[in-house]
């Protein structure tokens, strides 16, 4: 995969990540977000209703907390979680935890990390973790890490230091395991394809890679990958020679037309190396020194990208942590993507983009849905004047009511209703035959009214969740599209001002 930046303005990175996925032909825009899922499915949505949404991101987020318990099933299934969940064309990123459900602290040891599933706690050592990832076969996965520091208040420096040390140790072990399993897999595949004979003459490639660096095959993909892998195989497996067909493969730069066994672009019977990219996790709590250490050390490893962990919390804690964030991203290489966990609110998203973050989780629209609300915040920083007036009047009215209600109401998601949304349960929507957001092109707004959604919520009907989820996802994905547009045309300041006006 390759990250290319179109421009960097005010710390914000605009660009594309190309050559993603098993077939290497997927692309992702940054800044962007990942589709939030629960047990491999967008919440409330089937394939049909998901595909009604415009702008669904190319990559979906899966959570180990919802999938680890299905390890055995997925191992027997063999074809990977993407196919199992019915999303074979989607890029997949597997995170450890579900950003919506906080996990209890005290369950990370030097040897294992626990995730919390519906069935209970699942404890994972490095080898179990990697075995699960092998069964899942995601495109990217968050490395096993110690992220507990952010769950607690006032953690000691000692504990913070431990979280960095542990996470680095987990990372090194995972990388090692991945490498080992790949060379083993490669050898068995080459054997079964008949490209190896067991003669005892050593054949070396005229490769300029030294043996030590060549053993580091994880972390990069691309056309040169297969030659480096074979070199490792030869060095590690000792005195095998490569048969005639194999030799042709090694010396040519393109996969030969006749190769029935090495054309990695088209899945041959047993030879495609489907590599999952490890995302290194930056820990360090609120201690600058540890954050920098974590960033620098993680950056030394051949990871595919970075996850900035421990920045989740409430809006006030984020403010303090934003300073750390800039320093952290400054230590990271430019050509690898930066994800952040636990940050999804529109205003917080913008703050993080300005500090060098590329990818976000999209659980905020889900939380809004669960409390019976619809996202209505405006992100069109260049609307026509008439629309602005209408929307503004509406927004101001709503903000007034919001201030009163916010103080009283807390919601099922343990979060207060934000000023980015309206609460459809309110009586005033009972006879409101307008769409959720005027001008929105989502399925819900094109087909239904606020009055109808209100009725569905009052009567506790399942369809409320379906329709709200469709609207909220589309609205949120539209927001990210506008962020990219604003960056393209140097209008981010306007967008930021617009969002902050609505964030109070």
């Amino acid at each position: 995969m390759k990250l290319s930046l179109t421009k960097v303005v005010n710390g914000c990175r605009l660009g594309k990540i190309k050559n993603l996925g098993k077939t290497g032909d997927h692309t992702m825009d940054i800044p962007g977000c990942l589709l939030y899922t629960k047990t491999g499915s967008a919440p409330h949505l089937t394939h049909h209703t998901l595909h009604n949404i415009h702008g669904v991101p190319a990559m979906a987020q899966l959570t180990l907390s919802s999938l680890a318990e299905h390890h055995e099933v997925l191992t027997e299934y063999k074809e990977g979680v993407g196919k199992f969940i019915g999303m074979p064309e989607s890029l997949l990123y597997c995170s450890l935890h579900d950003p919506v459900s906080p996990c209890p602290a005290g369950y990370v040891t030097n040897k294992s990390v626990s995730v919390w599933s519906v069935a209970g706690r699942v404890e994972m050592t490095v080898s179990k973790f990697m075995a699960i990832q092998k069964a899942l076969q995601p495109d990217w996965f968050q490395c096993l890490s110690d992220g507990e520091v952010s769950c607690k208040e006032a953690t000691s420096i000692k504990r913070v230091r431990k979280s960095v040390d542990r996470s680095l140790l987990f990372l090194d072990n995972c990388l090692r395991l991945q490498e080992e399993s790949e060379t083993l897999a490669l050898s068995s595949r080459l054997e079964c394809s008949g490209a190896i004979s067991t003669q005892r003459s050593l054949l070396l490639l005229g490769s300029s890679d030294s043996p030590t660096s060549a053993s580091r095959v994880t972390g990069t993909t691309g056309a040169c990958c297969h030659t480096r892998l074979i070199f490792v195989f030869l060095v590690e497996m000792g005195f095998h020679s490569v048969g005639q067909a194999g030799l042709e493969l090694l010396t040519s730069s393109d996969p030969p037309a006749s190769a029935s066994c090495w054309d990695y672009r088209h899945e041959p019977p047993c030879l495609v190396l489907q590599k999952s990219v490890i995302i290194g996790v930056i820990e360090g709590g609120d201690v600058m020194e540890e954050r920098l250490r974590s960033a620098r050390e993680t950056a030394k490893r051949p990871v595919g990208g970075f996850l900035l962990d421990g920045f989740q919390g409430n809006p006030t804690t984020l403010e303090a942590r934003l300073r750390l964030l800039s320093s952290v991203t400054a230590e990271l290489p430019e050509d690898k993507p930066r994800l952040i966990s636990g940050v999804s609110r529109p205003d917080e998203v913008l703050e993080c983009i300005e500090r060098g973050v590329d990818l976000f989780e999209s659980f905020f629209p889900y939380q809004v849905t669960e409390r019976g609300c619809a996202l209505t915040f405006s992100f069109d920083y260049q609307p026509n004047p008439e629309e602005t007036l209408l929307q503004q009047n509406g927004t101001q009215e709503e903000i007034k009511c919001m201030d009163q209600i916010k103080k009283i109401e807390t919601t099922g998601c343990n979060q207060e209703i934000t000023s980015f949304e309206i609460n459809l349960k309110e009586k005033k929507y009972q006879e409101d035959f307008n769409p959720l957001v005027r001008g929105c092109s989502c399925y819900c707004c094109k087909n239904h009214t606020r009055a109808y959604i209100h009725h569905l919520l009052v009567t506790n009907e399942l369809l409320a969740g379906v329709l709200l989820m469709m609207h909220n996802f589309e609205h949120y994905f539209g927001f990210f599209h506008y962020i990219r547009e604003a960056l393209k045309s140097d209008k981010l300041a306007q967008l930021k001002e617009l969002i902050h006006r609505q964030a109070s």
Partner: protein
């Protein structure tokens, strides 16, 4: 369930029903209902969308499954959101955005079955709303008035509902009252050109009472009739339309309908079953998902699991009816029934007696 006007010959022109084919052995018929929101092929299964929604699937999904008529419940909708609001929203069609046909019931059944404090008099059914505690009277006039506001294509008379387990004079009283209430409904009906009022034949399990009721009600000029309380083999007995909450309700308990009965997908036996619910089914759920995935999803808190099953179960019922219809048109309905019962029950002796007897009464023997 309902049947259409009783002219039996194919050449006559009943108001809304056009007969296409009749089984020569049983009384099964295939036809077309010509309703204000389009044609409906019969026999037809009508999914029940109680509160102006089909339980978690969108109207677009329902349309894509081929559904052309579904049900709404007057009792529920009359309370929430109420007829005035629905009228403002351009009727139930406008409120839920359903472009095809709707059938509403009178509200009487739920009244009696759901409300503990309901009292039936000649006036109507008096009850206390479970939501605001207010006392209301649902009269034949009020029921029709609400249904006029809802604007459904087929509306039902308010009938005096008596459980089929009740015996004695109450059954006869209810039968005669239902006739009187039918007349009051007809008189109160404001939109006979836009909405078809069906009568409901009563009489419990007493054949004489049923016959009397039938004779009286057919004298009234109504476009269709309903019979309460029966199901299943009724196509063979000549019924055209069936509604039931079973497929949608059972979906929400994790149960998928298949020719051999149903699959309780939450059970461990499906954990590693990588095939679809039904390899013959063409619904989106069976096209994309395995039993194993649905099993896993059912054990999560993602409601999508239920929606997948609802889609399948409705598709299953619609496909079944369509297959029934084709068999009638192709003059092989009795064989179809035998194959269906065979798949469901295996040995003919395992088939329930009431079904075997009823089928035998119209000339179809099993096994």
């Amino acid at each position: 369930m309902a049947g259409a006007a009783t002219q039996a010959s194919l050449e006559s022109a009943p108001r809304i029903m056009r007969l296409v084919a009749e089984c020569s052995r049983s009384r099964a018929r295939a036809g077309e209902l010509w309703l204000p929101h389009g044609t409906v092929a019969t026999p037809v299964f009508m999914p029940v969308g109680t509160q102006a929604t089909m339980k978690g699937i969108t109207t677009e999904q329902l349309d894509a499954l081929g559904c052309r008529i579904c049900l709404g419940n007057t009792y529920h909708l009359g309370l929430r959101p109420g007829p005035e609001l629905i009228q403002k929203a351009n009727g139930l069609h406008g409120f839920m955005n359903w472009p095809h046909n709707l059938l509403t019931d009178s509200g009487g059944f739920q009244m009696v079955s759901l409300v503990s404090l309901s009292e039936v008099t000649e006036e109507g059914v008096r009850f206390r709303s479970p939501y605001d505690g207010n006392e209301t009277l649902l009269s034949p006039e009020k029921s029709v008035q609400i249904q006029n506001a809802l604007g459904s294509d087929i509306i039902m008379q308010l009938d005096d509902v008596v459980s089929s387990t009740v015996t004695g004079p109450r059954v006869e009283e209810a039968m005669y009252r239902s006739i009187r209430w039918l007349d009051r409904c007809i008189a109160a009906h404001q939109r006979p050109d836009k909405q078809n009022l069906f009568a409901i034949i009563q009489g419990g399990l007493d054949a004489d009472l049923r016959a009397t009721c039938l004779e009286e009600m057919t004298k009234r000029d109504v476009p269709g009739f309903a019979i309460g309380g029966l199901s299943g083999v009724c196509v063979a007995l000549g019924c055209d339309m069936f509604d039931c909450v079973f497929p949608t309700r059972t979906a929400r308990f994790g149960s998928a309908l298949v020719p051999t009965g149903n699959l309780q997908l939450r059970k461990k036996v499906f954990e590693k079953d990588f095939g679809p619910i039904d390899p013959e089914c063409t619904c989106p759920t069976c096209q994309k998902h395995s039993r194993a995935f649905l099993h896993a999803l059912l054990h999560s808190d993602n409601t999508a699991a239920l929606h997948h099953l609802t889609v399948h179960n409705i598709a299953y019922q619609l496909q079944l009816m369509s297959a029934v219809r084709t068999s009638i048109v192709e003059k092989r309905f009795p064989d179809f029934v035998r194959d269906f019962m065979g798949a469901m029950y295996g040995d003919p002796t395992l088939c329930p007696t009431w079904a075997t007897d009823a089928l035998a009464s119209v000339g179809i023997t099993l096994g």
